[in-house]
Subunit: 497 residues, 2 copies
């Protein structure tokens, strides 16, 4: 480890205790200050982001706003305090297994975390994005591994974040930036780092997850990797709103040039759906959109060629990609169709994710058992979507929905999976390879719990208890209380015989 | 994989969906039925356990009762339904980032799990123990890897559990037993298995955790491994209740021949504590107790010899171990003392766990900075204990407590760490190597969440929603509701400036 990384790890470790001990209201005010600072610097930051990523100004302004809103939501969440899961068992001389002591449990920050930023969301999944907001909300110092795709934006955003945290009185070392692949790998393995988070490719995510698991002291690693987000459209939905579906589909594939983890990669439709013209018409006016960087452009061009060359593939909207003088790729949406049989026969070429504005219509015959099909085609996904007619709820559809919940973290009815609301109930995660750890989410307030661990105090006097566990409850948090005497009744509400 | 294991994995996978769909009240009644069946067969089961483990009848009867109580507590927990963490975001046309759909999130069972039983708790951490109860409560089929230390008890308990679940109407395949190391390793790697749990040694636990992480699709693995449970006694506590402390200490070390994961392995006392005679007197009348099996006896004898031979070790209560004609070891408690300096100098020989009735008094000079010392001696532990005088709460003590919460999952004040209450607030886990995964507990109702994963439904009609997410709320569960309109106010309660 270089001297710089040693300093960074030491700084983060030194910040861990004072940061963990900040009252939630102060930490929340610091999050709000970061949100305000991002907005105050929006013109400059969005300008750098446009140059470095090729994403559009409206998209980037919206993403910056989302990033600020996320920080404010998390501020409210920690002030509310329910996320600490405070549980208090009263001492109980009549406990069914013998006298039991007073036991009080809550969640504490795990310590310094390293967050690997993504390329495709330069605000919302990067320096000041969801993982950073969740870790800071939890009370964990953040070491941010900047993405090489937007280095200047990473540097400036980190300055803005660190300055806002400093002004708000947070400890030194609570937010630091590192850059470089080797540096990221080294810091993940530092014993002072207690958890990792990541958004990116399956290959990179798996590599890092394996390193985290192989440490002398393993740590949790929350990686969001690959997802193809299958969509299932019934004949009834097409009859009811075919043109609207075609337009929504193209918009979801074309937005941000398809460089979204929730882009609908496969759309299952009944043969004879008749949507080709509406899809082609919706795609035709879409202007070329620059891909994030030359590496992604080259990868997308090769993947697109591979799909177009696969047996049985029919072009519905051709689209294309042009490489400019700086090796940047400019893409328009490509929609192809393939029969279910050809998809199955050509699965090696067809089933992997295409990162860019390409999607595959899969045409199946009436009566196809889609519920049985799903496990044979897909592992885990972030999302799965069903478009049915209003009121449609036959046994086949219910069986399909049931199977989709086993293979995805979020199942949508109507709408399209791109555009993830930042809310208390949002779930952004899913079975492998959508994520390395399916027990959590990287969007929404439940994301905070990834960076917490439980600690119980047994038999402690009020003066030795931390504020959340005190009977006086000075922060006014929700406390779940188990009174003495109740153990005699356990099991009775559901007693048998 | 042999034919038998293939059948077992297939059975568990087939049971997963129908078991997940059992209403909580039915699943709770099944847990209560298992509890009743264990109690109805207590005489036979305790008899087998005495022969196979050498543990005493009172201990085993108490442990069986605890196991039954645990099942009843979990039954109540799933009927209450709070463990499902139901969150409902209302659709919101005025959402700050643009109209948001209705999103509803809850936790669903992960699918079949494999649970590796421990040797030292033939009921509470074995076939029908905490991990089994938690997984069944969650709605996950259980494949139980029986421990070779009590094969007949494992077989009979599994019969009792499976029969009770069957009579209660649970699906076939919901509980199955496998035996053999190679078989356990194979089933953990079967793609149909979705999580693992384990209680045992650091070596075996790390091996299995590594296998779980290295699968093509990694799965969570919850292993409880090694812990030495340091105790810190102040001069004030000794002055107040020295004799009581000596007696409590010996009882905690001697119980179940020290073969408990929470046995106090190191007790830090001020030099000149004067407790030697009281400890020796308390240890003298303890009768020899059989160790669990010949392998543990041989390991304990070697470990004890190593500690007795280390430089600076003084015997306070000699104890011993005799090997009988069947290679079983019969042990009495050994308490030794060593200066802090000698502990540090001899850390290679002294600091590892001694699995059996041996504990080390560590004598330190007045003014020793214990808070600074802890991180240099210990990684993670299940517990840490403080004995102080009533009202004692000086800065040094507060600093020590603060550090202990970073190194242990449960911090006790007074009392001894053995004897873990099964309650909502209990925490039985801790930083590596106490557990492989510090985000959870293996005792208490929070243990259920290890076997759940979140799923969100977006824009679903009432008829397509599972019962817990329906507005009608047919099971009467707690539902956390986020109304429309509130996003405009996020961050305001803690606004700055």
């Amino acid at each position: 480890m270089t001297h710089d990384l040693e300093t960074i790890a030491a700084n983060a470790a030194a910040a861990a205790v004072p940061f963990a001990e900040t009252p939630p209201r102060d930490r929340a005010a610091a999050l709000v200050a970061v949100a305000a600072a991002l907005e105050a610097n929006a013109d400059e930051l969005v300008g750098i982001a446009m140059t470095e990523t090729g994403l559009t100004e409206p998209r980037l302004r919206g993403e910056l706003k989302r990033t600020a809103v996320q920080l404010r939501l998390f501020a409210d969440t920690i002030v509310d305090g329910g996320y600490l899961d405070v549980r208090i068992d009263a001492a109980d001389p009549d406990f069914v297994l013998g006298p039991r002591p007073d036991v009080r449990r809550y969640l504490v920050p795990v310590g310094p975390i390293v967050n690997f930023a993504a390329s495709n969301f330069p605000f919302a999944f990067s320096v000041a994005g969801g993982d950073t907001a969740a870790a800071l909300a939890a009370g964990c110092p953040v070491i941010l591994k900047g993405h090489s795709g937007h280095p200047e934006l990473s540097r400036r955003t980190a300055e803005v974040v660190a300055a806002a945290l400093d002004t708000a009185g947070m400890p030194d070392g609570v937010f630091q930036l590192v850059t470089g692949q080797a540096e990221g790998v080294a810091i993940l393995q530092d014993p002072r780092v207690k958890a990792g988070s990541f958004t990116g490719s399956i290959n990179a995510g798996r590599l890092l997850a394996d390193l985290a698991a192989a440490r002398p002291a393993p740590i949790p690693f929350y990686g969001e990797l690959g997802s193809v987000n299958p969509v299932f459209v019934t004949q009834g939905a097409i009859a009811e709103r075919g043109a609207e579906l075609a337009a929504g589909y193209v918009a979801s594939v074309a937005g941000s040039a398809g460089q979204l983890c929730t882009k609908p990669g496969f759309v299952f439709v009944p043969s004879g759906h008749g949507l080709d013209d509406a899809i082609a018409d919706a795609a035709a006016p879409v202007a070329p959109h620059r891909l994030l960087n030359p590496r992604i452009a080259a990868g997308y061009r090769a993947r697109r060629d591979e799909i177009l060359a696969a047996a049985g593939v029919r072009v519905v909207a051709s689209g294309g990609i042009e490489i400019d003088g700086e090796e940047h790729g400019w893409a328009t949406p490509t929609i192809v169709a393939v029969s279910l049989d050809d998809l199955i026969a050509g699965r090696e070429a067809l089933l992997d994710e295409a990162f860019g504005p390409l999607s595959v219509l899969v045409e199946h015959e009436p009566g196809t058992d889609l519920a049985a099909l799903v496990p044979t085609l897909f592992e885990g996904n972030l999302t799965a979507t069903v478009h049915a007619a209003s009121g449609e709820a036959d046994a086949a559809l219910l069986a399909l929905v049931r199977v989709l919940t086993e293979h995805a973290g979020r199942v949508l009815f109507g709408g399209w999976p791109t555009g993830v609301a930042v809310t208390p109930a949002m779930q952004h995660g899913g079975p492998w390879p959508a994520t390395t750890n399916d027990s959590s989410t990287s969007v929404g307030t439940a994301a905070i719990s990834r960076f917490l661990r439980p600690v119980a105090y047994q038999g402690a006097s009020e003066q030795l208890l931390p504020a959340p566990l005190q009977t006086a409850n000075p922060w006014g948090l929700p406390q779940s209380f188990s009174p003495a005497g109740e153990s005699a009744h356990w099991g009775r509400p559901v007693a048998i015989g």
